[in-house]
Amino acid sequence: MIRPAPSETAVVAASPALSIRELRFRYGRSPGDGAPFELDLPELSLAPGEQLLLAGKSGSGKSTLLQLVAGLLDPDAGSIRVAGVEVHALTGPARDLFRGRSIGMIFQTFQLLSGFTAIENVMLAMLAANLPRAEHRPRAAALLRALGIDRPDRPVDRLSVGQQQRVAVARALACRPALVLADEPTASLDPENAANAMTLISAACRDNGAALLVTSHDPAMADRFERRITLEARRAEDPEALAR
């Protein structure tokens, strides 16, 4: 099991892993009249190591919210703090570096880079975050070993789907992030494998001290999380916010 370094544990303990206030963001287009949807989230907080399910139908803004949290999109209003840092106060390379170091991301299709081995995919995350080069290989190897990958030098294209998912989890945890964002990580799996995958992600984040924000439109996932919120899409002119 990989545990965060003591100093990082102290930082994580001092601030919520995620804190959102008065978030508003217009996105997409309504198929009917072409009006934009609006994401309106008055408040959301995630303690260090805490895990939360973000449920909702397709188009409800789950992935958009994750991209806002990751700093890939800029909100129209409101505040998003990750590990105490106002993400959108950072600009350019500073924001990218912060994302690389503090936020891990897991995707439905894993988004591993073909042409690279399993361990290289994990090391890429550490390279992106400018972590000391000497740490890359030993930490990546330890993470993969802990997640049950016994052939880390194998190209990812030759790994099974289950193994690819483990590599994706290892990559998300490579930089000891305060927060892991998992975007529909089980959407393409059958129920049994989906349950196993979520168990793996959940346990890995817990073992590594990372808070976890998972999106899913699968109702079966809801029971696995003590905390959950549901997002619903609304048109921008709709006066009621539907985040509950």
């Binding site: 990218d96 570096l97 690389g100 988004q111 042409g115 090391m123 550490m126 992106a128 890359h136």
Partner: protein
């Protein structure tokens, strides 16, 4: 794992396209290198040819023809001068040296220069030094011959070998060797010396004494008049046998200088004689370069265009690759790569293609130079080194990499501007 590893992996992932692009760039860079090197080497070879000769006199129709035929052995001279003309010119001024030459005979297509020992002891083929003998010595007696370095290489002759010269050369008097040349097997020549290479046209010539050549031609005359004549000696020579085709002249100069203040005066004085063409070889070579200069520039422009074409192919390949790599770029951005870092990855990738192309181009350039120098040696007799020059290698390589990097800017900007969300599938 470094940023450069990502670049290399990316190139390797589409290796067929990478190889084709590298090959395109390599051909362009190689062509550019060959042309630039050939241009310089050719110019040097031409400039070295006259060596320490200040003036060249021949009975040719123009000074340029005189220099091309008399010094660069382009064709055997068509007209000869009597020995008396040499005496007259040699005694008209206190020259540092006046060396008579006679061309017209050949050995296996290589020109034979009949001259005096001064040619090998006082004339210098290159301003930087005298002749150096790889083996043997200058000719001293009649029917001794010294081989230029290239002539020795091509003929594989060695010291002590006896050779039979051909009266007439390929290309002489219309080039009809069958009708105008014949071998003098009555007069074998002994190889007594082999010269070191000089990088001049003299390397592919053979050198012997004037009297032997005169005897050869006197024998022709006598045998034609009386077929029972089997041998001719020095005493049989008539004035009409004592012919030369050129005179190399050098004016006195101060030590360490190649310039004489009396040059123009003597040049003008000699030109008053309308039976001869007087040439300042350096001027004639400049004239020749002026004539071929536009062709030379055209070739360089063509090569540069090819190089730009190579850069455009990089641009197209990289632009095409950007479409295929939208996901990869998006993932790298998610992992923490900044836009400038992505931009530099793409430009580096493009520059690496240029670098590989330049490296392969240097190899192609060397091969091209070997082929070109051999072709020039065998067809024009120009001896030029086959190695591309280091400054051109560096300049062509730097230009290739710079152009390639430049070609990478547009696709790098595409990558720079690419929104992350659009590059990731499965985003709702």
């Amino acid at each position: 794992m470094t940023d450069f590893s990502i670049v290399i992996r990316s190139l390797f992932a589409r290796r067929t396209l990478t190889l084709l692009t590298v090959a395109t760039v390599a051909v362009a860079a190689g062509l550019m290198l060959v042309l630039l090197t050939l241009r310089d080497a050719g110019a040097d070879a031409f400039r070295r040819g006259p060596g320490t000769t200040h003036l060249y006199v021949a009975a040719e129709p123009s000074p340029l023809t005189a220099v091309l035929n008399g010094i660069f052995y382009a064709n055997p001279p068509r007209n000869a001068m009597p020995w008396a003309k040499y005496r007259q010119i040699a005694e008209s001024f206190p020259w540092e040296w006046a060396i008579p030459t006679q061309l017209g005979d050949s050995y296996r297509g290589m020109p034979v220069v009949a001259t005096t020992r001064d040619f090998l002891t006082r004339f210098q083929p290159d301003l930087s030094g005298r002749w150096r003998f790889a083996e043997g010595r200058p000719f001293e007696a009649n029917f001794e011959v010294v081989l230029g370095a290239e002539a020795a290489r091509r003929s594989r002759l060695k010291l002590g070998d006896a050779i039979i010269l051909t009266h007439g050369s390929p290309g002489s008097r219309g080039g009809d060797v069958e009708h105008h040349s014949h071998e003098h097997d009555e007069f074998p020549y002994l190889v007594v010396g082999i010269l070191e290479p000089t990088g001049t046209p003299h390397d592919r010539a053979l050198f012997t004494d004037l009297e032997s050549s005169w005897i050869l031609h006197a024998h022709d005359r006598r045998h034609h008049a009386d077929p029972s004549v089997t041998m001719t000696a020095l005493e049989d020579l008539l004035d009409e046998d004592r012919l030369i085709t050129g005179i190399m002249l050098r004016l006195p100069t101060r030590p360490g200088s190649n310039v004489s203040p009396a040059m123009q005066q003597q040049f003008d004085a000699l030109r008053r004689d309308t039976s001869i063409a007087v040439a300042q070889p350096e001027q004639q070579i400049d004239r020749l370069f002026a004539i071929v200069g536009s062709i030379d520039r055209l070739f360089i422009a063509l090569a540069a265009t090819t190089l730009v074409g190579g850069a455009i192919s990089i641009l197209l390949v990289m632009t095409g690759a950007m479409e295929l790599r939208r996901r990869q770029i998006a993932v790298l951005r998610v992992l923490g790569f900044s836009r400038p870092r992505i931009f530099s990855l793409v430009v580096t990738e493009s520059a690496v293609i240029g670098l590989l192309g330049a490296a392969a181009g240097v190899v192609l350039g060397v091969l091209g130079m070997v082929i070109a120098s051999e072709a020039l040696r065998s067809t024009l007799g120009l001896v030029i080194p086959a190695e591309p020059r280091l400054p051109w290698i560096l300049i062509v390589s730097a230009c290739t990499v710079a152009l390639a990097a430049l070609a990478g800017i547009a696709p790098a900007l595409t990558a720079y501007r690419q929104p992350v969300a659009g590059g990731l599938r499965g985003v709702d």
